[in-house]
Each structure stands twice: as C-alpha cells, then as structure tokens.
C-alpha cells in the first residue's frame, strides 16, 4: 500500500517499526499546517520554520509515547503549541529582540488592508507582545487558526469552561493593554466607555 493511501495511525505504526519513509510522509502531510501555526504565533518566518522542524524532531523522539487515543495531528499540534509557548516565553525575557522581530516581520506581515494606521497597528502589536504567552496562544488559535471552543478544549487539553474563561481574560487583557485603540474606537463610534 502506498503511503498516500494510509491514515496517520498506520504511518505512525510503520514509523515505530523503523520505516523512515513513513515518518517522512507524515512530515510532508502535516508540515504546512504546523508551519502556519508556528508562523501565526511567532510572526517571524525563520524562527517559525526552525520551530516547525523542532516540532517534528520532538514528535519523532516521543513517538513511542503516542497512545493512539487522540489523533496524531492533535498530538502534533500540542507539541507545536508547547514549542511556540517556550519560544514566546524566552522572547518575553528578551524584550529588545522581540521588538526588533516585530518591526522586522510582525508588523509587516500583518494584513495591510485592515484600515489601521501604522501607529494603531504598532500600538496593538505592542499590546499583543505584552500578553502572557498562554493568552496569546488561545487568541491566535481562535482568531487566526479559527479553532472552535470544542477544538480548543482538545488542543489545549482544558475544559470548555476553562476555554471560555481563558479566552475572556485574554481578550480583556489585550483590550486593557491597547486601551488607547479600544477607547478611541469607543468614543468615536459609540460614545460610551470601554
């Protein structure tokens, strides 16, 4: 049977039996989504590509611990979240580099057609960068990757209530940190307070 006809579980079993090509096929099958996820979270292409490679290396090394209870992709993406969280945490410890990365790639990769002024966008980017990595992760998974609440419970391995609560806290934290933007909107559009 060709690899393309195999599901992930079969490919994982073959990889565990030492079939190198089966694992290479798994990498090719999931590389696009893993890289997109890393890029959405890290916003710097080179860093995201290195992180995505690390994800597949780590996944292979932990393959014998894969219990076939969740899908391989869910398991893989959990490794990706964890790797990106580590990188975001270390980035928070090096704020100068982080700001550099934002101006080099993050701000530019953000859609140019959002109708935001450069100042507004920079203000928002700074607010995002100041969020706790867990808050940034859940917002990215929800807003950029479009995960439903149910999918978030599986991806983050937390309850539905925890998803709702973390999402609420993350949004409020961002609104609070970019008060100027959100308050300005409020005054301009509704006249109320935020």
């Amino acid at each position: 049977m060709e690899y393309a006809e195999m599901n992930d579980t079969d490919c994982v079993r073959r990889s565990l039996d030492g079939d190198r090509d089966a694992y290479a096929f798994l990498v090719r099958r999931h590389q696009g989504k893993v890289l997109s996820l890393c890029l959405s979270l890290l916003r710097v292409r080179d860093e995201a590509e290195d992180a995505a490679q690390d994800v597949f290396i780590k996944a292979y090394r932990g393959l014998s611990g894969f219990r076939f209870e969740s899908s391989f992709s869910t398991w893989l993406y959990r490794i990706a979240y964890s790797r990106c969280l580590d990188l975001l945490r270390s980035r928070r410890r090096r704020p100068e580099e982080s700001l550099e990365a934002l101006t080099a790639a993050g701000v530019e990769t953000a859609s140019a057609a959002t109708g935001l002024s450069p100042e507004e966008r920079a203000d928002l980017e700074r607010a995002l960068e100041a969020l706790r990595p867990e808050e940034r992760l859940i917002l990215t998974l929800r807003e950029s990757q479009g995960l439903s609440y149910e999918e978030l419970t599986e991806a983050l391995d937390i309850s539905l209530d925890a998803v709702k609560s973390r999402l609420r806290r993350a949004r409020r934290a961002l609104q609070e940190r970019a008060r100027h933007f959100f308050k300005g909107e409020s005054v301009q559009m509704g006249g109320g307070k935020t």
């Binding site: 590389q31 696009g32 807003e143 999402l167």
Partner: protein, 151 residues
C-alpha cells in the same frame, strides 16, 4: 461578574459563533441597544485581522528532507532482512517468485547434460525435486532407525 460583563461575554460568544441558540435573540437585542458593546465588538473586528492574520504558508521543498537529516542519527538501523520484509509487499513477492522461476528455467539447464533439449529445464527441475524428496525420506528413515535404536 456584573450582568453587563456577562452580557459582553455573550456578545463575543455570538461573534465566535459559539452562543447557544436559546441565548441568541436576547444577545442580539442587547447588542442593538448597547453602544458600548457594539463599539467594543467593532473595535475587536478591526484589530483581530491585523493582529491574528490567517497565515497559510507552505514550507520550502527541502523542509521534510532537513527534518529527516536531523533525525538521521537517531533513526534505528534496519537489518537487511527487515528491509527486505518492508520491501516485499504481496504483489512484489509474487513478482519476485515468478521472476525467480523464470530465471531458474533459463539458467539451471546450463549445468544439465541435455542443454540442447528445450524441455531439459523442466526435467532437470523435476529430477532435482525428486532427489530432494528421496534425500528427505532417507534422512527421515535414518532418524527413525536411530530413534528405535536408543529407545
């Protein structure tokens, strides 16, 4: 959490498409009437696409190869037998068997004394088979004699 804070959560759940149907009508009415909630949601709708762009990137063609190169030292070395087993799917095994038979029919007669005879290959194979059967029978008979001697 105040009632209004709780209503804001519902407004965002509605935006996320996650609000239970039973709560939708009430939340939509609130949203229509509350300038503060409307403005907060509108601001979010403007900010989110800039902050969380939907980035869909295809890795470079060499991506998987580089991963596999990095994994190479940790990849278990397979024995020749394992590699042979992995390579031999049922179809390949059948093909290999047929090829072996064909090669046997062509080359075995080279050692036979009746090489010019077109049926020599088949007869030679039959002779070899018969000799092997006789040999096995003799071995079995000697084994049985040895067994009888010791018992």
């Amino acid at each position: 959490m105040t009632d209004h804070e709780s209503m804001k959560d519902r407004v965002f759940a509605l935006h996320d498409g996650e609000l239970p149907p039973a709560d939708r009508a009430e939340t939509e009415r609130h949203l229509a009437a509350c300038a503060e909630c409307r403005s907060e949601l509108d601001a979010w709708k403007r900010a989110a696409p800039a902050l969380f762009p939907s980035l869909r990137e295809e890795p470079p063609a060499s991506f998987a190869d580089r991963v596999m190169e990095r994994l190479e030292p940790s990849w278990p070395r397979k024995s020749l037998l394992d590699r042979l087993r992995a390579a031999l799917t049922p179809a390949r095994t059948a093909f290999a068997g047929a090829a072996a038979l064909a090669l046997g029919a062509i080359f075995l007669p080279l050692e036979s004394p009746v090489r010019a005879d077109p049926d020599a290959g088949v007869r030679y194979a039959a002779d070899v088979w018969e000799a092997a059967v006789l040999e096995t029978e003799e071995e079995a008979s000697s084994a049985s004699a040895v067994q009888e001697y010791f018992l």
